[in-house]
């Protein structure tokens, strides 16, 4: 397959990239990376019809294209809007976008139980990250939150609908996997619920992947429930010779013990290769796998805690967005005495201690 030559120039927050026609604004922004990439709670590149629902990825199009420079009248979902040549997009440089996004995060949270302390997803939850970056510290919602009964979808998966943000990702995943429409949405509005009709189990060898696509803790792995906190486990990439799937997975280990198996995810938290139920739920012993090495994870993630190898730094783009270097109010290195930037954290024996960083000033 030959790559089509990039043709369209698109500018996101003052940074210009060239992308192939048909690329969405979101994917163009992902090519730049860092803070100019809008958050996406429902879009999933592997699920063709996904996106457009959560509205967290709304951006302002300040110039439609070279040919028709008129701005778009409303904010548009970047995940479902394709770029035009010469388009100019404002994400973090638009007050309107930031305000709308704040509103959307607030709305996503009003009915969310915020039971992170007992939720298995905590630490790798897109909603936690989203609210941390774009939310407010207080809610203005003063009413009881909607709740649902927990439901088992087959022997391995539990649906905790109360936490669901109705992104429809699991619906699209199940639609791809199962023959008929077996998993979908019942009811409407704020009482809509994800369900398999009458708690039916979904018989498909790949159905476990709905757990990985779920951005929150609404679909959880029953073989891992309450076993451990994700940040106490160490992700390693491993493979096995599987006849059903690629066998490329991620093991979440503590010592030699495999606590959980998931698909490998990329930097946008999207699955790279679907894995089968057997790999995910049955192969829970280190000897089932050939370990390749520590997984790449974002340095900002809590999972990076106590685990410094192979972490990925997100690009810092602020000077490009502003068009000039930001003015440094204070250089922390000049004033702190806990300050030894030359130290390689992964070389330290055991957990780092402030003494390790004392400059002795």
């Amino acid at each position: 397959m030959s790559e089509p030559t990039p043709k369209f120039k698109v500018t996101v927050d003052n940074i210009t990239v060239e992308v192939a026609p048909g690329t969405t604004i979101l994917n163009a922004a992902r090519m730049i990376g860092g803070d100019v990439t809008p958050p996406a709670m429902c879009y999933y590149s592997k699920l063709p019809e996904s996106g457009g629902k959560c509205r967290t990825c709304l951006v302002e199009v300040s110039k439609g294209s070279e040919k028709d420079p008129r701005p778009m009248p409303k904010l548009v979902p970047s995940c479902r809007t394709t770029v035009m040549d010469g388009m100019e997009v404002k994400n973090i440089t638009s007050e309107k976008v930031l305000d709308a996004r704040k509103g959307i995060v607030e709305m996503l949270l009003i009915n969310h139980p915020l039971d992170c302390p007992v939720c298995d997803q905590a630490g790798e939850c897109d909603l936690q990250n989203l609210s941390y970056e774009h939310g407010t510290e207080k809610t203005r919602y003063e009413f009881p939150r909607r709740t649902f009964e927990k439901e088992d979808i087959g022997p391995y998966i539990q649906l905790h609908m109360t936490r669901c943000i109705l992104c429809y990702r699991c619906v699209f995943t199940a639609d791809q996997l199962t023959q008929k429409r077996e998993h979908g949405v019942l009811e409407r509005g704020d009482h809509a619920a994800i369900s398999t009709l009458l708690s039916k189990s979904l018989d498909n060898e790949f159905i476990g992947n709905v757990i990985d696509v779920c951005p929150v803790g609404a679909l959880t792995d029953k073989t891992f429930r309450f076993k451990n906190r994700v940040w106490f486990t160490k992700p390693v990439d491993a493979h096995c010779s599987c006849t059903k799937c690629s066998g490329k997975a991620r093991l979440w280990m503590r010592g030699d013990e495999v606590y959980r198996v998931t698909a490998r995810k990329n930097e946008w938290n999207e699955v790279e290769d679907w894995i089968c139920n057997e790999c995910r739920f049955e192969k829970k012993s280190a000897k089932d796998w050939v370990v390749e090495g520590p997984s790449k994870i974002k340095r900002s993630s809590v999972i990076a805690q106590g685990h410094y190898e192979n972490t990925v730094k997100t690009p810092v783009l602020i000077d490009k967005v502003l068009g000039k270097s930001p003015k440094l109010l204070m250089n922390i290195h000049d004033v702190s005495d806990v300050n030894r930037p030359e130290i390689e954290l992964s070389k330290i024996e055991g957990p780092a201690h402030s003494n390790d960083f004392k400059t002795g000033k």
């Binding site: 629902k53 509205r55 009915n111 509005g189 704020d190």
Partner: protein, 451 residues
């Protein structure tokens, strides 16, 4: 001025049946149209200036000319008879008493657009009308107006009536299409627009019942003659369904040159407000359009007379105007409580949101809960600003216009009736016993000297 176009044979008994309809000039337009080139019919509709009667007022001729015509792909016409907007019941009247006008309009439009399979998507609660329409379709078919090789032209067309299952959202054209395909009625993301990829991903035109019925007089009179009725870009006649505090609620046909005041007070139309009560507010175009207080209803902010047409009703934008919408004309007298009224609408939109996009799914419920508190004397002053903030963040940020439709009534109520909301908050007990009343809402608005 009274005008009878769509309802000109309203007084004739049995006009609902084929023989009577035919005897009184029915299917003459179809006869004429079947001899025309389809493109010429589209041209006539363009000349007529007809605008969509479903709410948005988009020029119908233009919509038709956008229809893609790829080789070998069937096209469809879909008639939107979902009519679920609170206050709107004009399509029901037309379908119940003039079914053949609709069928004739559908036949002409199908011929113009090249649709061999045309659908009427009807609101589920209109169960008895399904039978009326199916009978009319049957009669038309027996008389060679539907089916194969219609009147020897070689054109085939079938009309199917499809019943909805009781969801307002299925009136939104893309949700309607999904529902017609047998899926959950979630609105689609646009683009692609239905004109390119609609029903079963084929080019599709969705039009309102009244829009399609109006094609009959347009062909009978000719587009230019039709355009002479009305004023400016508000051509032709418009059906209005009137409810609320008027002496004569019902369905009226107007020519869009009469003033709002005449419409409410003349005996020919609403016949004034019962029991000598005074007018407080009005929603002229169905529950989604902004409510306006009496003092902005008869006169625009500029002091000009407000007329019953698209332009005049929206004069002043949302700050002081409203919209023609679907023609659901709701009148509120001095005894009506705006807070309670707004709460009722908020409950409706909360109940009807499809739940796809977060601002509408969560925001509508939140607004309803806050309004319920205020109405029940449990509100806080900060709730009013919070309501404003929620509606502001729903509007424009959703997939389909239901989000806007939920936001506008709340916004307009606070914009014009803030005093009443504040009074509810400040007088939690008194507000449970009596209404705020007319207050100053009918007072002439202050016009600065020299304006």
């Amino acid at each position: 001025m009274a005008v009878k176009v769509l309802l000109k044979n309203d007084h004739i008994e049995g006009i609902r049946y084929y023989d009577t309809y035919r005897k009184h000039g029915g299917y003459a337009a179809a006869e004429k149209a079947l001899k025309m080139a389809p493109a010429d019919i589209v041209e006539e509709v363009k000349k007529s200036g007809l605008r969509g009667r479903g709410g948005a007022g988009f020029p119908t001729g233009m919509k038709w000319s956008f229809l893609a015509k790829p080789e070998g792909v069937p096209r469809h016409l879909v008639c939107n008879a979902d009519e679920s907007e609170p206050g709107t019941f004009k399509d029901r009247y037309l379908m119940e008493f003039h079914p053949h006008t609709l069928i004739e309009g559908l036949l002409i439009s199908s011929f113009a657009l090249g649709s061999n399979a045309t659908y009427i998507y009807i609101r589920g609660e209109y169960a008895w009308i399904v039978a009326i329409l199916e009978q009319a379709i049957d009669e038309a078919k027996k008389n060679g107006w539907l089916g194969k090789n219609i009147q020897g032209t070689g054109f085939d067309c079938e009309i199917y009536v499809h019943r909805g299952a009781g969801a307002y959202i299925c009136g939104e054209e893309t949700a309607l299409i999904e529902s017609l395909e047998g899926k959950r009625g979630n609105p689609r993301m646009k683009p692609p627009f239905p004109a390119i990829q609609g029903l079963w991903m084929r080019p599709t035109v969705v039009n309102n019942v009244e829009t399609l019925a109006a094609v009959v007089p347009i062909i009978n009179m000719g587009g230019e003659e039709y355009a002479k009725i009305g004023v400016g870009r508000s051509t032709g006649s418009k059906l209005l369904s009137v409810c609320g505090n008027v002496n004569k609620p019902g369905v009226y046909e107007i020519d869009m040159t009469i003033s709002v005041e005449e419409f409410i007070y003349s005996d020919e139309y609403c016949g004034g407000i019962p029991n000598g009560k005074r007018l407080k507010a009005c929603i002229p175009g169905g529950s989604s359009v902004p409510i306006v207080p009496a003092n902005l209803l008869f006169k625009t902010a500029k002091g000009e007379t407000r007329y019953m047409n698209y332009e005049s009703l929206s004069d002043g934008g949302f700050a002081t105007g409203t919209m023609m919408g679907s023609g659901g004309f709701i009148v509120l007298d001095e005894d009506q409580c705006i807070v309670r009224h707004t709460m009722t609408l908020a409950r409706f939109y909360n109940h009807e949101s499809c739940g796809q996009c977060s601002p509408c799914r969560e925001g509508t419920g939140w607004m309803y809960k806050i309004l319920k508190n205020i109405e029940n004397g449990k509100g806080k002053m900060s709730d009013i600003d919070l309501l404003w903030d929620i509606q502001r963040r729903i509007e424009g940020n959703t997939i389909c216009p239901l989000g806007d439709a939920a936001a506008w009534p709340v916004a307009a109520a606070i914009r014009h009736f803030r005093d009443e909301f504040e009074w509810h908050v400040n007088n939690p007990e008194e507000s449970q016993r009596r209404n705020f009343g007319l207050a100053h809402y009918a007072d002439p608005i202050h016009v600065p000297a020299g304006a």
